[in-house]
Symmetry: C2
Subunit: 190 residues, 2 copies
DNA sequence: ATTATCTATAGATCTATAGATAATGC
DNA sequence: ATTATCTATAGATCTATAGATAATGC
């Protein structure tokens, strides 16, 4: 049942993308290797030909997902600094994002899990978060780079926290209120 | 091996406190009922005399931990509004808190897990988070209650996000930088 | 007599590996 | 001949339950 080299690469990519979605949806411990491979259309045993371990896959899936996210933000920033911050907020601080963790921010969905896991996943998360904070920094209003960086870090933290909170509370009105409060604070000078 | 009624209540309380610590340290899936009971000095089978399920215990442990946290914040607030915000930030946005999740904020440590779990745990988290936001609201500088509430929600989100980020990144300097940026933003008007 | 805790286990997972199978690509 | 994927399984978990044990408290 061997497949072509091209197909192997496609299979591997499909495992990574499936994992990126399922880990964000269900958490690292919420999905097993067997179910993950089944979702990718392959069988359990084949997994270890592609990856050393489940944790290795998490690192690769996190790197993949965050890279795409950083590129999206860079795209907004390239369209001009005035609207970029609004667009980033409108993509991040919404019910759409809150209700679709599988396609959303990996820091929010997996940050607590990754904090307890090995160095590869933490590296991937750190690079992704740094990339997003770098985009934010350019959009800040501070007088110098040091001030802009401080602002960017604080804004980013507020976005991550808002999404974690909006997903965890059981009160829809409160959930939306949190997202909107942070969205409003994004464009304020500070 | 029956024990006195008094001892039963003490045992139950010890299970809750042990669970509150271990769930925050290791995540909901990171600690099993057997190990948890062992840490509390009891055997596995006894657990189901005290709680209906592991998830039930999570809800109770989360309620317990957040209640204590809200009371601490209320204590700071009672000492006067000027220093209260600094004290809250100095308790929350520190390496000490970052490195001791077992005694820290349940929203940060378990928010992503609880978002995927049943209604009881989400209820406990929502009540705790609402309590903390209510304390913050009184300390805000806004002109009316609506504005103060918006400020409090945004500040709280930034604190939660800062801790999640500071624990997840693998770069000590960046981790501290995030905590300090949010600490600085706490006392700023906005 | 009641009941809190104990030991033991059922039944269902989980990650990782061993060895078989069959299609690719030299 | 090589190798990507398959089936099958080892060994270690996990939650929850059943029934035994022994101390409390009527």
């Amino acid at each position: 049942m061997k497949v072509s080299r091209e197909q192997v690469a496609l299979n591997r990519q499909r495992i990574v993308e499936t994992a990126a979605r399922l880990f964000r949806e269900k958490g690292y411990d919420g999905i097993g290797v067997a179910d993950l491979m089944k979702s990718a259309g392959l069988t359990h045993g084949g997994f270890y030909g592609h990856f050393e371990s489940k944790e290795d896959l998490l690192a690769e899936a996190t790197a993949h997902a965050l890279k795409k996210s950083v590129e999206r933000w860079q795209g907004y920033a390239a369209q001009g600094p005035e609207t970029a911050l609004d667009k980033i907020g409108q993509g991040y601080l919404t019910e759409q994002h809150r209700d679709n963790p599988g396609a959303g921010c990996s820091v929010t969905a997996l940050g607590a899990d990754i904090a307890r896991l090995g160095p590869k996943a933490r590296r991937a998360l750190t690079e992704g978060a740094s990339g997003q904070m770098a985009v934010l920094q350019k959009l800040m209003s501070g007088q110098d780079d040091a001030e802009k960086r401080k602002q960017a870090l604080a804004k980013y933290a507020s976005m991550v926290g808002a999404l974690v909170l909006s997903r965890a509370v059981d009160d829809e009105a409160l959930s939306v209120e949190i997202l909107q409060a942070v969205q409003a604070s994004l464009s304020s000078t500070q």
